[in-house]
Subunit: 155 residues, 2 copies
C-alpha cells in the first residue's frame, strides 16, 4: 500500500493530537470531511494506526524515575529467548525492551517511583530469570520523550 503526502500529514496530525474532530483534521490537511474520514478508516484497517491512547503524567503519578538496565546472558537459544520475552511482558515496570547488537545482549527501560522501588523490582527480576551480568544506569532527568515517529514530512 502506498501512502501519499496527505496520508502522512494525517498520521503526523493524529500521532500529535488525537482529540480533535474529523472535521478539524480535514481542514488541517486540506480535505473535506468525508474523504478525510475515509482515509482514516483505510489507515486504521491497513494497520498504520496501532492504537489510540491517553498519555499520562509520570511525575504526577510518582513514576518519574527511569532506569536503563543492560543485560548479558550466556543463553542464546530461541526457546530461552521466547521464555525470557514472556517474563518481561509480565513486568509492567519494564516499559521498553530491546535485543541489542554489541557488548550487551539486552537493554530495558524500567519505570519506578524511586530507588527503593527499583531495588524491589530488581530482586523480583533476578529471582524470575537468573541472569548473569546486569548493569543498572539511572536517569536523573527525562529531558525529552515523545511517541511521535519522525515521519518524512518537512522536507
Amino acid at each position: 500500500m502506498h501512502l501519499d503526502d496527505t496520508d502522512l500529514k494525517l498520521l503526523a496530525l493524529i500521532q500529535s493530537d488525537d482529540s480533535i474532530s474529523v472535521d478539524l483534521m480535514a481542514k488541517r490537511v486540506g480535505l473535506s470531511k468525508t474523504p478525510c474520514w475515509r482515509r482514516l478508516q483505510k489507515l486504521e484497517k491497513a494497520g498504520y494506526i496501532k492504537r489510540h491512547v491517553a498519555l499520562l503524567d509520570a511525575d504526577k503519578l510518582e513514576l518519574g524515575v527511569s532506569v536503563f538496565v543492560q543485560i548479558k546472558t550466556n543463553r542464546h537459544d530461541a526457546s530461552w529467548a521466547s521464555e525470557f520475552a514472556n517474563i518481561i511482558a509480565e513486568f509492567p515496570e519494564i516499559v521498553e525492551f530491546y535485543r541489542m547488537a554489541g557488548e550487551y545482549d539486552y537493554l530495558m527501560r524500567v519505570l519506578v517511583k524511586d530507588i527503593p522501588a527499583y531495588d524491589h523490582f530488581y530482586k523480583r527480576l533476578i529471582s524470575a530469570t537468573a541472569l548473569t551480568d546486569v548493569t543498572s544506569n539511572f536517569a536523573m532527568e527525562q529531558i525529552k520523550y515523545t511517541t511521535e515517529l519522525p515521519l518524512p514530512l518537512n522536507k
Copy 2:
C-alpha cells in the same frame, strides 16, 4: 489532589485504550455515565492526562531501527545544558533523551529507517553540537514497547 481506586482504574483504562465511549468506560470501572465523565474532566484538568494520541506502526512506516546513543561532555554549566536541550528538541529522530547518573552524561534513543539513515543523523548531530564522546548502540529488535505507566492497581 488525591486519587482513589476508581480514578486509577480509569487512568489505567484510557492509557490502554482511549477509543471507547465514556459509557463503556463507566461500565468497566463500575460507575454510571455522568460521574465517570466528571472524573475524566477532573483528571484532565488536574493534568494527570497529558494528551490523547494515536500510536503508529513504526515497522510499517519504515522506522524500525532504534539506536541508543551515550554521550559524554566536558561542559556542565546550566546555559550549555539548556542550549543542548533546545537542539535535541529540534531533531524529530530523537524520541527520548535523558540526563544520566554514572559514566555517561546523556542517553538518547534515536529512531531511524536503517544504518545509512543513522549515519546521516549522526553527522547532523555532531555538526550541530560539537560533542566529545559519543557511543552508538544498535537495537536489533524491539521486544516490548508500551506507553502505559505501571500504576499501582493489581495489588
